[in-house]
């Protein structure tokens, strides 16, 4: 649009021989501009949303270009794509981000407004400057939008997490072991929400083991479609025995750094959520 306006202005204001002389310069600039707009300058990150009858998700993000280049007032925008567990796109939205601005998305309200529904799935976030030639954006290099999910359940359970998986050029991770030791005191079940940021199908097998002995107490095999996700539940009363501490392992994770979200569900109904 800017180039069309420039062309009109030049034609109106300059003598025609000058306009003719500038033609090639103008075309070169326009090509460079469009190439720049198409260039991928932002890594796209993903995590899981929850949207049950009792649990809602709020997504918080900011125009980080302002914090990282405060002298160059940059307006930006966030493109957010929501997928269902089968990896089908449910909704794509775009939110403006003012200079030093931020944004919160109430996922339940958003889904209701657009008439879409899924109880969980992945969503991707990319934040890009409106003007890709903005000085701050150029200095940052390839950016990564950090955003946060706040989960809130009617029973008072809450969770706060950052994205951990990338979308795009990713590959499976083999022989994964969680960093978390899971104490079984008061625990009813261990639930995993696995995100898949890759554009390929994958199968993972998850194992719940006794931390002390390494004995396998439960296993689940799950197949993923591209950009799919899964809820994997291990009920403790279904295990052959309940040790004091558990550890999660998997033969693979579907994509780079896609550690599943770990939801500890307690006997009183409360849960907590964290990276695994």
């Amino acid at each position: 649009m800017a180039f069309q306006e420039l062309r009109v202005v030049l034609r109106e204001r300059l003598p025609s021989p000058v306009v003719t002389g500038l033609k090639h310069t103008y075309l070169g600039l326009e090509r460079a501009y469009h190439r720049c707009r198409r260039a991928e300058t932002a890594c796209v990150q993903t995590t899981i949303y929850l949207n049950t009858t009792t649990c809602r998700t709020f997504i918080g993000l900011n125009n980080f270009y302002s914090w990282l280049g405060a002298d160059s007032p940059a307006q930006a925008h966030a493109k957010i794509v929501f997928f269902d567990p089968q990896g089908e796109i449910l909704l794509t939205i775009r939110r403006p981000l003012e200079f030093f601005g931020s944004c919160v998305i109430d996922l339940r309200a958003l889904f209701e407004e657009h008439g879409v529904h899924a109880e969980f799935g992945i969503f991707t976030v990319a934040v890009r400057p409106n003007n890709p030639w903005n000085t701050a954006a150029k200095k940052i290099g390839k950016s990564m939008a950090v955003f946060y999910c706040f989960y809130q359940d009617d029973n008072g359970s809450i969770g706060l997490i950052h994205p951990n998986a990338r979308v795009g050029d990713v590959s499976p991770v083999w022989n994964w072991s969680s960093l978390q030791v899971i104490s079984t005191e008061g625990l009813a079940s261990v639930v995993l929400y696995q995100m898949h940021g890759g554009n390929y199908a994958h199968q993972s097998t998850y194992r719940l083991v006794d931390l002390a002995s390494g004995e396998e107490l439960g296993a689940r095999a799950v197949e993923y479609r591209p950009h799919g996700s899964a809820k994997i539940e291990f009920r403790l009363d279904a295990l052959p025995r309940i040790p004091a501490e558990l550890l999660l392992k998997a033969d693979s994770l579907p994509s780079s750094n896609a550690k599943p979200l770990l939801q500890r569900v307690y006997k009183n109904g409360l849960f907590s959520i964290s990276h695994s």
Binding site: G156, I158, L160, L179, R264
Partner: protein, 298 residues
């Protein structure tokens, strides 16, 4: 490049705060993944120093056990400190392979490559627990803070936290820790703080001083004042300090259900591929004179 005279206790540190004031005890799950690069595989001896709410060292635990490569070990912090009060606990994982080469048992010579590997190859579980077993936590990994052998320049901390969610039941605590592996470290750092709305308007700006070996917890509801209803209100917290490093963690707390959630923030270099060295220093210069912080800088 070899770093001579590097404190063994600074190779792998984990500063954590307890939250007894909210009714939670603390447990940490420490991991040893040094074997990911076999050249640097080492056993770790766990040590911990406990600091009072006033920043005084009140206990030193020189040997809380050994973690072998590929293993995990859980430490219940209740047993190290009075959990009814809020403390700072500084864990150190002492690499025994380097201890064996040390002349005084305190310092070692370590390459930047090995140091980077030992700091970055693993994360630790920090878990806040209620008496009924309910627990919540976060995975953390940090290099030594406020240690000139590690940070060649005076480092700065820039916090971007679009994750302040407030309602009648829910508060957010911005916690800031001022740790160091150096025993006689004595610097207080003051951080400029601001809360902004979605359109970028500053609704509150203030300065917060954090003395050495102290952890402050700032209630965002107390900062803002007023009353909140059931609707979740959202703010972005920002912080900037260029005299030293403070470790920020954001806690959400539901006072009705006594539930807690915690997450760390990200340093600027994790937002952009070019943001290190001179580019990072330029970021700091610009943010310091920005409308978020300029009125607060001295």
């Amino acid at each position: 490049m070899i770093l001579e005279g590097f404190l063994l206790s600074a190779v792998h540190t984990l500063p954590v705060r307890t939250f007894g004031s909210l009714g939670f005890s603390l447990r940490v799950g420490l991991t040893n993944d040094s074997q990911i690069d076999q050249r640097f595989a080492t056993d770790y001896r766990i040590q911990a120093k406990v600091y009072s709410a006033e920043g005084k060292e009140i206990a030193f635990h020189p040997d809380l056990g050994l973690i072998r490569p590929g293993e995990k070990k859980t430490v219940v912090v209740d047993e190290l400190a009075d959990e009814r009060r809020d403390h700072l606990v500084m864990f150190s994982l002492l690499p025994l392979r380097l201890l064996a080469t040390s002349e005084d048992g305190i310092h070692c010579a370590i390459s930047r490559e090995e140091l980077h590997h030992l700091v970055s190859c693993q994360g630790h579980q920090v878990e806040y627990r209620r008496p009924d077993g309910y627990s919540t936590g976060v995975l953390l990994a940090f290099p030594a803070y406020n240690y000139t052998k590690f940070h060649r320049d005076t480092p700065a901390v820039l916090v971007q936290a679009p994750k302040i969610f407030l309602s009648r039941d829910i508060d957010s605590y911005v916690t800031l820790i001022n740790p160091s592996p150096v025993a006689d470290y004595n610097q207080t750092h003051t951080i400029a703080c601001s809360l902004t709305t979605a359109d970028g308007a500053v609704v509150k700006a203030w300065r917060e001083s954090v003395p050495p070996f102290r952890s402050v917890a700032i209630s965002m509801k107390n900062v803002l004042g007023g009353k909140f209803d059931d609707r979740v209100q959202f703010f972005c917290f920002s912080g900037f300090c260029d005299t030293g490093l403070l470790l920020p963690l954001i806690f959400s707390y539901n006072a009705r259900a006594t539930t807690l959630a915690v997450e760390h923030t990200f340093a600027p270099f994790l937002y952009g591929s070019n943001l290190s060295g001179p580019a990072r220093r330029e970021v700091d210069k610009q943010i310091k004179r920005s409308r978020l912080f300029k009125p607060l800088m001295r």
